[in-house]
């Protein structure tokens, strides 16, 4: 075992974290507006499969990414219509999105199952910079979207905390009645952010497809990454920048089983090691729900509750 393996695992973790960051940024935007979308897993799958199918028939990465973003928009619009418009239970609606998205992605992906990726997102070429020890693979070994994702996290952080619509968004999750009384439209703010969030989630799936997955397979493409992204939102205490750190941590746990397998290190059977990311996520969730941690977290106050204007 050489230390290089762990360095590469770490670099891989940073790369895989891109999906987690994108998905959890989407969830943060959604939840900050007071709506929970548990359908992340379904969104990821749908983004991945539609991207794959479009790329397969057109060979155009950009078109594929665009279509998968649009799919995310449509799916999250369904969630928004159900939960904001029809005031359906957000949790059940989110689960329905998971089930619906899983089924539909299998249906759509059936013809392309097992085919190799038609296009691949490759790391940028930084020339000699990539050869710098440690810094090379960790900082300069990634593709364009990974860097853009970091920028996006910073941008969203600025948006949330330093801009007028960000202020309104935070208020909508905490005190929708206040926003309503100010003449803001709670429904419009929620619609916009649920949809923007959905677009990010499904883009996360498409990116994963083209940058990380080997092929589309119906069962194992996302493997619960969507759920880990949801746990990550809590871990990041609904702050975009903190999602990066958490995503790298979770990305590491996702990557370790692969490294162990690739290096044929068999401390434990692979099926046991495969439980590792979920158990770590669970442990983190538990640590975050101690009363002390809870005080520091600050979830949007009225998360998950439909807003109905009180007219006697």
């Amino acid at each position: 075992m050489n230390s290089n393996i762990w360095l590469l695992t770490f670099a891989d973790a940073i790369s895989i974290a891109t999906t987690l960051i994108l998905a959890s940024l989407g969830a943060i935007l959604t939840e900050r507006s007071g709506v929970i979308n548990l359908g992340v897993e379904g969104m990821l799958l749908m983004g991945a499969v539609t991207g794959f199918v479009v790329a397969d028939s057109s060979g155009n990465l950009w078109l594929a990414l665009l279509v998968s973003v649009l799919v995310g928009v449509v799916l999250s619009a369904v969630h928004a219509a159900l939960t904001i418009g029809l005031r359906a239970n957000q949790i059940v609606s989110g689960l329905a999105m998971v089930i619906f998205g899983t089924g539909l992605s299998q249906f759509i992906g059936k013809p392309v199952e097992g085919l190799p990726r038609p296009v691949i997102i490759r790391p940028l070429n930084f020339g000699a910079l990539s050869d710098i020890p440690i810094l090379g693979p960790v900082v300069f070994g990634h593709d364009l979207f990974t860097y853009l994702t970091w920028l996006l996290a910073a941008g969203l952080s600025f948006y949330l905390h330093r801009t007028r619509p960000g202020l309104l968004l935070r208020a909508t999750g905490d005190a929708p009645a206040t926003v309503d009384a100010q003449g803001g439209s709670v429904a419009r703010i929620r619609w916009m952010h649920v949809i923007a969030g959905g677009a990010l989630m499904s883009f996360a799936g498409a990116w994963y497809m083209f940058a990380r997955a080997a092929a589309w397979s119906q069962a194992a493409t996302t493997n619960g990454i969507g759920w880990i992204a949801l746990a990550l939102v809590v871990f990041a205490s609904w702050r975009p920048l903190r999602a990066i750190g958490g995503a790298v941590l979770f990305g590491f746990t996702l990557q370790v089983p692969f490294t162990l397998q690739a290096e044929q290190i068999s401390i434990l059977p692979p099926t046991i090691v495969a439980m590792f990311p979920y158990l770590v996520t669970l442990a983190v969730l538990v640590a975050l729900s101690t009363p002390r941690a809870r005080r520091l977290l600050g979830a949007p106050k009225l998360l998950g509750q439909p807003f109905v204007r009180d007219e006697r």
Binding site: T163, L167, R170, A171, D174, T178
Partner: protein, 503 residues
Amino acid sequence: MSQAGRAVAPALVARGITKRFPGVVANDSVNFDVARGEVHTLLGENGAGKSTLASVLCGLYRPEEGQLLRNGAEIRLNSPRDGLSQGIAMVHQHFRLVDRFTVAENVVLGHKSLSFVLDNAAIEERVASITQEFGLPLDPRAVVGELSAGERQRVEIVKALYQGAELLLLDEPTALLAPPEVEKLFITVRAMTHAGKSVVFVSHKLGEVVDISDRITVMRAGKVTGSVRRGDADVRRLAELMVGREINIVPRRAKSPTSDVLLSISQVHLEREGAEILTDINLEGRAGEIVGVSGVAGNGQRDLAEVVAGLRMPQRGNVTVCGVPTSRAGALGARRAGLAYVPEDRLGTGLAPSLSMVDNLVLTRKRGFIVDRKSALRESEGFIRQLEIKTPGPLTPTRKLSGGNAQKVLLARELFAVSGARVLIVCSPTRGLDVGAVEAVHALLDEARDAGKAILMISEDLDEVMTLADRVMVLYRGRITLEQAGIDADLDRIGRAMAGLAS
């Protein structure tokens, strides 16, 4: 008009406003106007329609009929935002603030002319200048969740002023304030009228509005029943206009209670997360008396009630109910010892809102493996007849009942259905009820008192405490700072104690 001689149109005129809600006409052809620089008070009992009128004036409600004129020109308001663009703003009784935001963030939230990127320093400066101009001491950087009720109200007022309000509607602004804080509010109101702004003061507290108002308009049952100018205001006359009949101010009964101590609280001390909530509380409740505990909201009233009810365990001290120590016995233990509890939050704590009256009567009974709903059904039918509870039937969910009828269900259970309960805690028993219901609830409490129960009544409504209690206490920052017999209760001293100014 106070601006004598000049033919200036009033700042706002409402003509023939009618607003209906399912089953009620909240405003019935109401006329109302307010001039520049004037304080015009809307006075009326709960449910008289004054808050509805204020909501119409600020654009929150759209009336079915009627007309609004702003400075002589007709306007149409479809939302509070329209109201704001006309310079009309309302400060609601329940503050609409974001607890996690700072004062400055709350003030600018939703403001139209705000730049896309927030310039916090400039905003804070602007907020500070408004607070200074109108005598509203506030730190723009303070987090609203940590402010007192009075300070939060100031935030609401600053917010309205920041948005350029020329006409402010204050809905029950003194409800949550201790008397000295009311004085501060009045100073601000005067500063605003001096600056040419108009203030509409919505209140049901007769006593305090006489001083501040230039005019008082009284409403009852959705209609205007009269209007008086400063100087002509006669408290008795106003009270009659409010209630619609002659008022007899009943002298406090001087029946001496028996000496049986049924409830005793000694040296109770409660902490939560390191903060002291209740300090050294000593209190006795005797058979046949009502002990009234008053105070400004948030001074430990609720915690006191919960400690006695067994829902919270004090760190030190003892509570005994009918001789049985209950401070460690939990809610069930306290009930078994003979305690009944009517919490402030009727639907949501005292009653399960989606459950029927029958199921709610079962709540505090001892239940076997199978729940006996048959006898509860008979009991409900009895209560519906005796207490004249208006409900479609005993199986209707309690949330469909009006506040007064829900309270009757709750009182029926706690006073009569629970066998052997001799000690009763009631919290704000008439909050939000209309006049008729208030009388019915007070009558029930008096009846229970005369039947020899010991009643601990915790209420922020000083009038209620003064009319019902045989002994009056004031709770301030978790301590009992004043205790007086009901007959010689001195309003002035009580007010000072509520504000923490007692010696």
